[in-house]
Symmetry: D2
Subunit: 440 residues, 4 copies
């Protein structure tokens, strides 16, 4: 397989040139070697380009066909086309000077019509990826199996009413997890796009949840069996394509993990767009995952606040990312996780250059957010106010509440005995928001 990746040939490797550069194809904030809060930006942010939207999506939507004219899409079914796509993808990551990429099994392989083809074609793809990783020095942030595009998954994969579909899902996940392990992947992701329902009228919720819980337990067991030490991640999303998805949001995933005994085995891959679709802010989902002990990784895709579907756009709000970054730092930063871009350029953005603009902009927005978060942390006023606000909980009464043996009646009696008449104090929201703006 010697397909030469020419698609981005005209573009140089993207370099850090600083805030004042006039070059639109340079980083203005992302200086990979700059140390921020004790780690380099590269170590902090662990950026990954995703194969799915950037190399496989043809620019189609529900109302119209593909608009992109990528060389590897002209013969989508061919062995050569698949190889060219893989080679171009890793070349693109190298051009962006980002450390990681990530993929679904079907993103990287020639399409397969049956089990045997699936195994053969995916095997060839993994061999090639291993070679390309060596040649380009890129690493794998995570692998995953696509359990949603094939018609067989129309009614779910691990939650399909048909156990044969479940078995196909097991085959794909086993293959993708083994491949991720072999390729040195840092995490393995499950996105349950079809794990939900269209109508309760034909759905046995309880049975589907139990099948799903069983599946996840089998995946975790397999991980340990093969010695994979990366993190297993679930990416929450409330709905779309389903009417309701079981992995609705971080809190829902936590309850699910807890129910099936997996809260110490599985973390979440939080997508900004899925957060807002589920009625939360991006930073909320991170803070909640941190509070619940399941923070793992980030999918940077943002949504559009006026549109109720998954627009999967590149991040472009430094303000929003700063608030998310503050929560990531509060969570201790990434261990195996990182920032992946599973974002898509707009359907009208048909030029090769547009893929660069999308990624460069996304990288820089996040890097600028990290720098702003550093300023907020180092400034310390917000954290100090927050700490002071809860100071009572470190005092006598706060300790008494949590002391062993204290009862509801004890606390109520104390309120009576001391004739407590607590005054509400200002939460200083406007002041704190001003401080953020001062530091972004």
């Amino acid at each position: 397989m010697s397909a030469a990746p020419e698609y981005f040939a005209e573009f140089p490797i993207i370099a850090f040139e600083g805030e004042e550069t006039a070059n639109e194809l340079a980083y203005r904030y992302y200086d990979k070697n700059r140390v921020v809060l004790g780690k380099t930006m590269e170590e902090h942010l662990r950026f990954a380009v995703c194969m799915w939207h950037t190399f496989c999506w043809p620019g189609s939507d529900v109302f119209g066909g593909g608009t992109f004219d990528r060389p590897w899409m002209s013969h989508p079914g061919g062995t050569e086309a698949a190889a060219l796509k893989r080679a171009t993808a890793l070349d693109f990551v190298r051009k962006l000077d980002l450390p990681f990429y990530c993929f679904h099994d079907v993103d990287v392989m020639e399409p397969a019509a049956d089990v045997a083809q699936y195994q053969r074609n995916f095997g060839m793809a993994v061999d090639h990826l291993e070679q390309l990783q060596g040649e380009t020095g890129r690493k794998l942030l995570w692998g995953t199996a696509n359990l949603f595009s094939d018609p067989r998954y129309a009614a779910g994969a691990a939650t399909s009413p048909d156990p044969e579909v479940y078995a196909w899902a097991a085959l794909q996940v086993r293959s993708a997890l083994d491949a991720t392990h072999r390729l040195g992947g840092a995490n393995y992701v499950l996105w349950g796009g079809r794990e939900g329902y269209e109508t309760l009228l034909n759905t046995n919720l309880s049975r589907e949840l139990d099948n799903f819980g069983r599946f996840l337990n089998l995946v975790v067991e397999h991980k340990h069996k093969i010695g994979f030490t990366g993190t297993i991640l679930i990416e929450p999303k409330p709905h779309e394509p389903t009417k309701h998805q079981y992995d609705f949001d971080t809190a829902t995933v936590y309850g699910f993990l807890k129910r099936y005994g997996l809260e110490n085995e599985v973390c979440v891959n939080i997508e900004a767009n899925h957060a807002t679709l589920s009625g939360h802010t991006f930073e909320h989902e991170i803070a909640m995952a941190n509070a619940l002990g399941i923070f793992g990784s980030i999918d940077a895709n943002r949504g559009d606040h006026q549109n109720g579907w998954d627009t999967d756009q590149f991040p472009n709000s430094i303000e929003e990312v700063t608030l998310a970054m503050v929560e990531i730092i509060r969570a201790g930063g990434f261990t195996t996780g990182g920032f992946n871009f599973d974002a898509k350029v707009r359907r009208q953005s048909v030029d090769a250059e547009d893929l660069l603009h999308g990624h460069i902009g996304g990288v820089d927005v996040i890097a600028a957010g990290l720098l702003a978060a550093e300023r907020i942390i180092e400034d310390g006023r917000i954290d100090a106010f927050r700490k002071e606000r809860y100071a009572g909980w470190d005092g006598d009464l706060g300790r008494k509440v949590h002391a062993e043996g204290t009862s509801l009646a004890d606390i109520a009696d104390l309120a009576v005995a001391q004739n407590l008449a607590p005054r509400h104090r200002s939460g200083k929201q406007e002041r704190l928001e001003n401080l953020v703006n001062r530091l972004v």
Copy 2:
């Protein structure tokens, strides 16, 4: 206390008169003694009138003052007014011929300025309620404490940054729980309207969740200590008045209960309006609570699909209620729970009669939904299709998946060995929806 409840004097006791009655102040479907699926409608539905919106809310909204002219509101601070309100409320429940009522502590008492007044005024109210229950033959579905209206709770009650506020909350909950026990209440509810946050900038999520978990454990412990055998219920809601409420939806509450070891102690009181505000259907929340083993009770208040706030309207869709009722029956029906109306008539509905129209309409919509659900269950086609759809899980492969010792690799190998090529089958959604319409 001899306040004579005259407000509804002109109205007779509301009776069942059948579908064809021309009387707008009669039940057309709710025949309390009719046996449906083995229980009378009264036993099935366990209707309760709530004090809060029906007797305390003056018809105000964020943009305007109260429009109602209720006798007990003219001197809201008085002892007499509070007594009149209680007496009128139980008289109203009697007029509707419904078995239950429910209340917040502050709904039934003269306002209190301090701890001592709180205890005295609430004590008087409970004495009077006990007497009124005897006189009118009405029972208490649940009691609760209002931990959201007083300015002291502006930043939360059990999640307040100030432990003195927490102590006040403990006092109110202890009082309301004791009163509920004494009055023979079937359940005790916690609605955490302020248990959430306005901005993450000043919020310690982890600390607030732990304080909240501690509080709920103390409540459960107190319940057992006093011998209350009713159910402790949490009413989920995603937001409003807070930006984010911790009891977002049923799945979130489940995760919270599981985390703090309370999943066998606490159930949910599901409100239709809160379900839709959190991005779910009403029936979804019931089905999910059933699957998770925490289904408790129902707040019938519906929302408006075009308005993004809690409109708390009386139910008026038999179609929607039928789907919810099917899930309630699948969940085994109510044990201690029931249907409460914490709904409000619209701000323009200023007549006494409008309170009757609201409740009669709500009761009849739910009763009609129960009858439709009975037809659906007895028809059996929907359940039969659903059962058949999962039949594979009762076969060899399904059993193998769940057998002890089966691994992911075993299942994947089986897919390969048998060259599985499952075909997607129709989910028959349109047919099932037609069947529902045929039976509503």
Copy 3:
């Protein structure tokens, strides 16, 4: 062209069998010859099957490929396949015993790579449709041109930044309008799915609106030139595929028409799903169109209240349709318009039979809604209350307000002179909703 339509061969012609029939493939409410409010149901409802979702959509969505196995889709590019699709479609309408069908140009023709092919292939299609109309006795409710699927329309058609794209749109609309005229179509529709913007950063709003207004004027002029006497319709939608569509809702379309002098030339084709996506109820859009004098026709597709995209489902709520039907009757009913089903069966509904279930259910829900609306109109209580509520406007003061020469000061002075102190009266919303439920 003699392609034999065999796809629905096993199904009989769907007949009215009444409410109690056990036959799931029969009408329970739609009795085409039954007279309702002075017209037969067939004349009232003017049902049409749409080619687009029922015969062209392969069951794909953004996350997965087609699930349907229709004979005419196996070779989508072929002359024979296009003919088979047309023949099957008209046979299907005949099987449903509905009077109308409707189509986009590209729905009915072999795909075309250039202008010449477009003209030839569409011409062949129209010849064949004319023949099929004769053979099956079906009529055309409306024709339209697809100005959104081809990549050329990625940035709009009449609002494209490229006038060559505008010229292509002119070609397609001229062709489709001429064809509609020749085939005896009752209306011609424009759905501006791409007439909007993705980002204001690259958009000249004013220029696009003017180009769009010019286009619509040219279409109207052409209609008159060729002697087409049907109605030109615009189908409002707020967004999707665009971030913002110019035809946001009925009120927006009215302002647009008024601005370009077309308010007496163009009406709206209101889709239930687009209504709810734009923040309105279905019945609101009809009532507003009626008030503004631009009510035309209906696309019956409903949405899902929890999902923020265009799910285009078959109607299944008699309650919702009844309220819409009341407004249609208030608007005087259809003249050239009718009810079209551009709905799609769910992606899992892969059987031929499912297309029947979808349409039969939709027809019956609407027929039941018509019968309920008849009862509401004939009962008269709701209209009587509404009339009485405004009675003051027929009195002295009301007349004075509208009298020529009355000034603001005159009215204010009158308020002072008479010391007006109007009392708010009940709007009786709960009572009215109960009345509706009594009559549905």
Copy 4:
């Protein structure tokens, strides 16, 4: 009336101190004398403090009572309290060194029980305001009448079913408009919070729209009669408190104005929060008002993207405001309009200082947005790309489309003759978004 405004006594006049100041009670961007694009910032932005939320709202919400402890609220019904409120308000504007304030009639006056009291109390208030304007050097951006809080307006004011309510509205608007004229106000605003409906069942849409159109015509006529040369403004909002408000958004208001012949007489006062509630961005509403020729003024209140009600928060996103400011500049900037803050501090923000933080933050966010917009305009790349994108419309084909006498057929024939095959070109959305981030 000599009530001494002491509430803000401890605070100095807020001054511009530059971006690096450590003083949280100083402006960092708002340098009122700095010249930006040919005008000083003060002339550009024309900031106004609103009485309503800042001096009248007690910190209540639907679930709880007032939390604020303002001296003028302790005896809300008193003559002295009203005077103190007025004096404190204008002192506050002076402290902020902003040029304008604005008010509803009832904000500034002692409450009135009847027509006579209304006239007397409002008259006293206006006298006092005139004196205070002189003393403090502050000016009136706009006046308005509160036609939504009093119970009489529960069913609307100009759209009330009761003409006596309409007459009361005429009285208030005449008074408020006369007062605005006398006080030298630059605009007069109508916010139709109750001009809409709760249910179509009791609503005569057509009649209400006609009454509303008549009212607005009377207002405009009165304006001319008294010689008021300011602008009449309507503030669009989609709903809340009503289910549906007639002034849904800018496009809807335009259609309404056009229908009643007022499109050259009335402009819009666009609120950021109302824009997002209606499904649009803030900048969209401005761009649309500009395209339609009705851009007037701005209410800076923002919403919360996760909450579906009118949170009316102070602006805190420089990114969002920058995009809005670009559209304001494209619209030629304000003439009589300006930026008003009708925002409320959060219910927990109970300190006097919090009112300062809210306003200072809001002012600075908008000032920073203006500076960013200046950079974007001066950079020119975004505008240049936009211009180039439409270049074809300045060419032969574009001109031909708009030439008199060109028909649809002419354009279609041209497409055929030239065998047009236009290629879609990149809209460069990612690049343009990056450019914005570079310049914010």
